[in-house]
Chain length 405, copies 3
């Protein structure tokens, strides 16, 4: 919960809502009540009074700490959140680190990715009714879904329950009586944070998760906000490559299918750029090619990439063939274009036959027929293991956000 764990570990557990230390990078907004006692400290312990105490600690050169007594705290006088994650410094403080929110794939540097993956790997080993299965006992997660996404919701809820935590579910938050009556997202968040310790939010508007995080005093996880971000999918994709191939540096990845609209492949390309000697092949129908922004970004990071029309040739040299679904809804009335694009690059047993023994096929699911069913039985078909890895990644994130490293 704290950058320096000794600072807050005991005294902050006196109230039901989870105290958090908010770290802000580059910019932050702080509303503070005139009743708050503001102090300048650097890395010292704070003597806290008998009642519950809330701290806001900023590990910047200014190093401010706001101390609030119980009396003042409920007045909601202080909110502080990072508004800009684009180029955060590492979250680590000494050998520890603490996540505050999971908003977008860009917020993670390689060091944090590795730490998350390390925790996720530990999660794979947690046994039923072992002590590890109770580390989130007493914690309550709210799944606030403004659009249905049963797969993602179940994955998060399973993760929470596998760690002994509890869940409040709402799958139709859009019909949230108050939202329907015109309540702002911010007001909804302020209400729901009173009932829970962490909010997993799915929203139809890009940027909604960032707004929620700027409001909430508890951690927010973005489970997808419209055409925007779906960072836990990006994390599980990279984690799966690491688990399946055994390394992330020096790999060759073929991204296949709808590269224009698939936020999954865009995020994946972005994260792979953090590793060394990565080569990416784009294989897509002409109407849904990878956009220039990602290509330029890869080039700027020294990642080799090329476009290809030859799935067989790409498959034969890649470590990972990452297939995606051609999204019909993107084609409007041009069903003809959709049908043409859709049938162009199918992963079937022929593709399998040219792939290397250690290579794998991945897919974010759901799949239609872009991977044929007869591929499933091959050990190189990694997509259901990939889905399962989503569970471990989400367990890891919940642990890191709620109880820290």
């Amino acid at each position: 919960m704290a950058s320096s764990s000794s600072l807050t570990s005991c005294t902050l557990h006196r109230d039901m809502s989870v105290p958090r230390v908010i770290k802000c990078h580059k910019e932050f907004i702080c509303y503070q009540s005139s009743l708050l006692c503001k102090q300048s400290v650097h890395s010292t312990s704070i003597s806290v009074s008998d009642g519950p105490t809330y701290l806001r600690f900023f590990p910047t050169e200014k190093a401010l700490v706001w101390e609030q007594t119980r009396k003042f705290l409920p007045r909601n006088g202080s909110r502080c959140h990072a508004l800009d994650f684009e180029n955060p410094s590492s979250f680590s403080v000494g050998e520890k680190f603490q996540l505050d929110d999971v908003i977008e794939a860009q917020q993670f540097d390689r060091k944090i990715l590795n730490a998350i993956f390390e925790v996720a790997h530990e999660m794979e080993k947690i046994e039923k009714n072992s002590p590890g299965s109770q580390i989130l006992k007493g914690y309550l997660m709210a799944t606030l879904f403004y659009e249905p996404s049963t797969r993602t919701r179940l994955s998060f809820e399973s993760a929470m329950k596998r760690l002994g935590g509890e869940v409040l579910t709402t799958e139709n938050a859009r019909e949230f009586s108050s939202a329907a009556k015109g309540e702002t997202l911010e007001d909804t968040i302020r209400t729901v944070e009173g009932y829970s310790d962490i909010i997993v939010m799915r929203h139809f508007e890009s940027g909604a998760a960032k707004r929620a995080a700027a409001t909430a005093n508890i951690p927010i996880i973005n489970a997808g906000d419209g055409p925007g971000q779906h960072p836990t999918q990006a994390l599980l994709d990279v984690y799966t490559i690491g688990r399946e191939i055994g390394k992330l540096d020096g790999i060759k990845v073929g991204l296949v299918g709808d590269l224009t609209n698939g936020r999954t492949v865009r995020s994946l390309a972005y994260l792979l750029a953090k590793y060394q000697d990565v080569t990416i092949y784009f294989v897509s129908p002409d109407v849904v090619k990878m956009k220039d922004d990602i290509k330029d970004y890869l080039t700027s990071k020294g990642v080799e990439w090329e476009e290809s029309n030859d799935l067989m040739e790409v498959a034969s040299k890649c470590d990972v063939v990452y297939q995606t679904r051609i999204q019909r809804e993107r084609f409007g009335e041009r069903i003809d274009l959709y049908e043409e694009a859709r049938g162009k690059y199918i992963v079937d047993r022929d593709v399998l036959s040219v792939m290397q023994k250690h290579a794998v096929i991945m897919h974010p699911l759901p799949r239609l027929d872009e991977i044929t069913v007869d591929v499933d039985a091959d050990p190189r078909a990694a997509y259901f293991r990939q889905a399962k890895n989503g569970l471990y990644i989400r367990m890891a994130l919940l642990k890191l956000l709620l109880v820290g490293w």
Copy 2:
């Protein structure tokens, strides 16, 4: 669970469904099977056989106790419930008291309100993973919502889980396959009570909660029945005033906004009449003024009240400014009237500037623009704390209904 706790404490926990002692005021109905062994007792201990035993105890002058053996119990031969809560005598028996159902604000006298608030205050102090957080372990609450109200549902479910209890959720009970097929509410209740220990019900029809309570052998909490009652909101409002102002006698409360249709302000006025030296100011557009029934009631109880057009003047002398939303849906096609009413009394920083230092602004939420967002950061903005208090009130009610004082 029992008026006299020694009477039932041990033996009654042998079955899964929670035994309850039903106290009836003024009227009651009792169906009893001819197989039941009826006895007249007054305040004596009952020797119970080895098997599970169910008791119905009526603390009236007739003091009947029905004892049922396991053999007879499942035959559902005995149901007994208060049908009239209008003027109940106090629920307390000696120094103890026991709630059976929470149906309407009118069922509570001042003594019971204080007892509930005392328990709610204890609930604020329950820490994660402390013994107090497990007092409802093993209990199962069903949320039977015939219309969605995510905010209220999450608040109840959080309350239950914060106390270690478990939840069965249904947010679309109206589409309950059986309800859609024409099943009566009574039949649904009889089925659901077989699966749970307490039912929290939201219904679209006024009086539905009372019907459910008359059927059920387990406690019912009314989470709003149509234009009727929403007693837990009324309780949390009064609790919040007590917590924020430090007293309930001798206070001045301004009720602002839609006073015709807002069931919240009507219930609040009703409950405030139980306290001494209360003054109430009604500030509302002409089309949504407080109705005469409440005014007459307040007068009959010696509560001072007056109507005012001057929000600034009222705000300057009140302890509580209770703002409400003008409900567009009440205006039908007269959007012009709605727009006029809506903009008339806005709580903004100007209103804040005349308010006393100790005074607070409350709102049942959701709010639109009847309180401007720049008010939120002021410590006197109590509405999000008010929402959080709903959690403590619901925790208290669940405790009182399931395990007693």
Copy 3:
């Protein structure tokens, strides 16, 4: 978990998903990866390596065991399921037995029925917070409902929670984002089985449960698949007769109402044929008579049956009067036929008056007016106890499927 419990008890709990031993009768399909190490064993212990190990054990004369190391397991290379339950041999192995899936009423022989009922009867005795109430602690059940059935869902979820287990709920799996996008049931199952230990599925298509069971590596319970099966209802009906009448051999049962469309009465007739000296009376309007297939089956099994128009006469000699709802949706535009059929055989106090003292009235619920409300208070009205028995049957099945006998 295992046919021979010593075989798997310890080592198999190292992973989150529950290992199962799949027994196949008559036919099975097995996809196996070439990477799998196949062994022939009979009833020997297997030395397992340090990592988690998954076993598939077939208690046929061939007695194959597939052992998979952690490395190979996630590759999903092995799936094996019974596809034909029509005439299974008993599930018992020695004095033990193990259920794998609950797909249709026909899969149970009398021996297994008795075993399930014995466990259900134990479930009735489990007290709140007793050790028995925690036997499924750490287990996670997913309710995957492709059509809403709140009653059935709540019953299963209550059963799971009464045994200390946890639940992932989805009531609108049809709108499962992935299903809506065209994902196959098989892919959905493969994803959801990664998040849970058992899946309770309701589907709109006959045969869906069998398809799910053929895919899943965890147990599937059919909670109704379209016009097909609803085996847990059939089990609770037979269990209720046994509990109410005290025996299943030598009983007389009147099946009343819609015998054409009611899958409940059809399954019940099927299961009753497993008992001795059973007599069945069919009492139904002409338009909804029992079909010949069941009549022929009963005859072939030596069960006496007859059709009657005289409900009073049947009621006077039966042990069980099983009333059902005339389903309006089956009559299309012929409302006149529906109205005629509907009013023909009503169970009311007149029917009660001719029934024997020990006899009972049952109904699968929901009821409309085919049983009048004034019957409810009579101890022979067993239908709400019947609904409650559904809880015990489901608790028993969850126990048997997850931790075995």
